[in-house]
């Protein structure tokens, strides 16, 4: 009798842990640190993805609008999952998407864009990863929201999801 009770408790406990871990798996990985003092975007010069011309950061962020900087690479698997969401965001008129192609092979990157579509109004190349470090990125993918004062107001580590898209839409309204 006591044995059966123990078994029952053990089973309940184990199933509980399973459920928690299973759920934890699905909702983790995206971690949005709070940025207290809003950081300005770094000043840099970078190669344009299409024309290979050098662009000044002032020129890139010239327009008076919100910007989203998305760090991506063709070899990065989570980038594929967030790509459709970026495509959707790109239809929004009040924001411009800048893609930062992180440590990638140009041919693979072009293939990636041809295959999945191009959500970015501009893509710049970050060959050695230095520019991403300037932005304060930890890895790929990462997404930064830049307001009209050219300050980074929000950053998302990891692939963005539906909730984050809604949050971004609220911010740029």
């Amino acid at each position: 009798m006591k044995n059966k009770f123990n078994l029952f408790v053990a089973v309940i406990f184990v199933s509980f842990c399973f459920v928690i871990f299973y759920k934890g798996l699905n909702n983790s990985n995206i971690y949005a640190p709070k940025i207290n003092d809003k950081k300005s975007i770094p000043i840099f010069e970078a190669k344009d993805f299409n024309s290979s011309a050098y662009l000044n950061s002032k020129k890139i962020f010239e327009e008076d609008t919100f910007f989203i900087v998305n760090i991506w690479a063709s070899w990065c698997v989570p980038c594929r999952t967030e790509h459709p969401l970026l495509m959707r965001l790109s239809k929004n008129q009040s924001v411009k998407l800048i893609g930062l192609n992180y440590r990638d092979d140009p041919n693979n990157a072009k293939k990636f864009i041809n295959e999945f579509g191009n959500p970015y109004s501009q893509i710049i190349i970050d060959n050695d990863g230095a520019l991403s470090i300037e932005f304060g990125a930890y890895g790929v993918p990462e997404t930064f929201i830049i307001d009209k004062n050219k300050k980074i107001i929000r950053k998302f580590i990891g692939p963005i999801n539906e909730e984050i898209v809604e949050e971004i839409k609220l911010i740029i309204k």
């Binding site: 078994l7 053990a10 871990f21 299973y22 990985n29 092979d105 693979n108 050695d128």
Partner: protein, 625 residues
């Protein structure tokens, strides 16, 4: 290219062999012969060979910088020194899983050839349970983390190995740790087999003790190497950060330590069988659980290689399948034979082992809660918290006092019924420790009472074990050495934390900084180019109050592939203290930020851990005589 193919196909062959092994051994189970069919042994050997071939081909791909292999592409670079190309093999998710498989198959093969005098059914069942784990991992590797994924077009250059992983201690840390961590699988399999055969007995205890010891020794040294790496490479000046990953290696260590003590009760007295079985199961479950927490990306840490939910779900289901299997077997087959065993007096060796168990369980639950509670909270209330060192220190340190006291008394007790001998000398030692501690620390800390009691408890253990070592040589020397190591460990950690001092300041070249105990002079910097990084080496002269000068040369390295800036601390180690200097760039400024620490008894922490495992080693070799 070729190595890639060979590696991949030997993995598949290894998996097929697993299935074949299961079939052959189940057939063999019903045969009446006394020994295992020779084919089983050969198949197990063949399986090991295939896994070794697969592992070697991955190493070869790394040495040749074969970037058509995705794993190599993601984790290596042509400019890496050969040593780090090789160690890069297990410095990533796919390669380290291959190492898992290697250890799993190696241990079951060794088990089969080392257990010839054991009952046949028990050996075959152990093999079967182990094969279940092995099949699980083969599937895991092949389905979600294939180390031999082919890349086309072939990239010219790899992405590079994370520079903080390019360190000698870290190169050997994973294999050593895995021998202990994964080695617990054999304890798991054999205890399940023993339960089904109702074979949890003295003989089994004597036989399995070797395996427990081997895992325990490797796990202890593996954890120490990781800790040494953190101290020398991370440049934070500490050796234990209660990082989730450190915790998941500590948790099996705690249960394994408890198991080690229970096995002693089992092999002498045939007692505590439930404890032994439950601890064997828990130890391996915690290892698997650790793998899950680290590899699924559910926790963020240095060891999180990739965040791929498919991997997480696979290990999660596999982990819980194993838990359910072992729970089922335990509840169905395990019968505690109460009659002859559990009659011991309250003051006896058995009781002291039980007390040790409960302490270990307490420490385990603290670490476990600290590690997984944030996940539970996040899921239930979507609130994000992180549990830091104060939590663990507050909950663990005070309990060390009774733990240390029991540890000094426990080993002196006899089995079944005992009384404390030499009470007077114990009291004398205890009072001596108290007085000694009081005079040592009376000017050092504000929390005098607490630290006096704590440190004198540690001294008490130290002196009693030391006395044991010198006076009663015939006694259980391996145990005494281990306990001495443990008391030394606690003493060095405590003195290290009380006496450490630190200076943080900004300083530029040619400048002098005075503080109450001496001065720091920033002499010069020079730049040096290496194949995989550029470095700025600074040179500081540090004068202490006695006028003795030492020169320290901390370094800032700018790795090229991937571009990461790391600070290499310069550490001057002596027997009494470590002097630790690390510097950082201050952005847009001619100043450097330096941190200078004096850390007493650092080297004794490593020495005492070595002593701790030396005790285990002695016990392992004593068995044979």
């Amino acid at each position: 290219m070729l190595a890639n193919q060979i590696g991949y196909y030997s993995l598949i062959l290894g998996l097929l062999l697993s299935v074949l092994l299961c079939v052959v051994s189940i057939k063999d189970l019903n045969r009446s012969s006394k020994q295992i069919n020779q084919n089983v042994l050969s198949l197990s050997f063949l399986q090991l060979v295939f896994v070794i071939v697969s592992f070697l081909s991955l190493i070869i791909s790394f040495i040749n910088s074969d970037f058509s292999n995705e794993t190599v592409f993601n984790n290596s670079h042509t400019t890496k020194p050969l040593f780090y190309k090789i160690s890069g093999t297990w410095g990533n998710h796919e390669g380290s899983l291959l190492l898992w498989l290697l250890v799993l198959t190696l241990f079951i093969f060794l088990f089969l050839i080392k257990s010839k005098e054991q009952p046949k059914k028990y050996r075959i069942l152990t093999l079967l349970f182990q094969q279940i784990i092995i099949i699980g991992f083969f599937l895991f590797v092949l389905m979600t983390s294939n180390p031999f994924n082919y890349l086309f077009p072939i990239p010219n250059e790899g992405l590079g190995l994370n520079p903080i992983l390019q360190d000698p201690a870290l190169a050997i840390h994973p294999p050593i740790l895995y021998l202990g961590y994964v080695g617990t699988s054999i304890i798991f399999s054999s205890s399940l087999a023993a339960v089904t055969q109702n074979y949890v007995s003295k003989q089994w205890g004597q036989h399995i003790k070797k395996w427990v010891l081997v895992s325990w020794i490797f796990l202890t040294i593996g954890i120490m190497l990781g800790s040494i790496w953190a101290y020398y490479e991370l440049g934070w000046g500490g050796f234990w950060f209660w990082d989730p990953v450190e915790n998941v290696s500590l948790m099996p260590w705690l249960t394994l330590t408890a198991l080690l003590h229970c096995i002693a009760a089992l092999e002498r007295r045939d007692a505590l069988t439930s404890w032994v079985v439950i601890l064997s199961i828990t130890t391996f479950t915690l290892s698997m659980c650790g793998t899950f927490l680290v590899r699924s990306g559910i926790l963020n840490s240095v060891h999180t290689f990739a965040n791929d939910p498919a991997r997480g779900i696979f290990i999660l289901i596999f982990l819980f399948a194993l838990i359910v299997l072992s729970l089922g077997i335990f509840f169905i087959f395990h019968r505690e034979n109460n009659k002859r065993l559990n009659n011991f007096f309250w003051l006896s060796r058995e009781t002291s082992i039980l007390i040790n168990n409960w302490f270990m369980m307490y420490f385990l639950s603290v670490v476990l809660i600290g590690t997984v509670y944030p996940i539970f909270l996040d899921v239930i209330s979507s609130e994000k918290i992180s549990v830091g060192p104060p939590f663990y220190q507050k909950l663990i340190v005070p309990f060390l006092i009774p733990f240390l006291l029991f540890m000094s008394l426990g080993p002196r007790l006899k089995w079944i019924k005992s009384k404390i001998e030499n009470k007077n000398s114990l009291i004398v030692i205890f009072i001596a420790s108290l007085i000694l501690t009081f005079f040592i620390i009376k000017n050092l800390t504000t929390d005098l009472l607490f630290y006096t009691v704590l440190i004198s408890a540690a001294f008490f253990l130290f002196f009693t074990t030391l006395k044991e070592l010198f006076i009663k040589k015939f006694n259980n020397i391996s145990q005494t050495v281990s306990h001495l190591g443990f008391s030394l460990l606690i003493l060095s950690i405590l003195f290290n934390s009380i006496l450490s001092s630190e200076i943080i300041t900004n300083i530029k070249i040619g400048e002098k900084y005075d503080y109450d105990k001496g001065e720091i002079f920033f002499k010069k910097i020079e730049e040096i180019k290496e194949s995989n990084f550029n470095s700025i080496i600074a040179s500081f002269e540090i004068k202490d109050k006695n006028g003795k000068t030492i020169e320290l040369k901390p370094e800032i390295r700018i790795y090229n592939q991937p571009v990461i800036i790391t600070s290499e601390a310069d550490i001057r180690t002596t027997l009494l203290e470590d002097k630790f200097l690390v510097m950082n760039l201050v952005k847009g400024n001619e100043y450097f930020n330096i941190r200078y620490q004096v850390k007493p008894f650092m080297v004794w922490i490593w020495i005492s851990i070595l002593l701790l495992s030396l005790g285990g080693l002695m016990s392992l070799f004593k068995r044979k005589t």
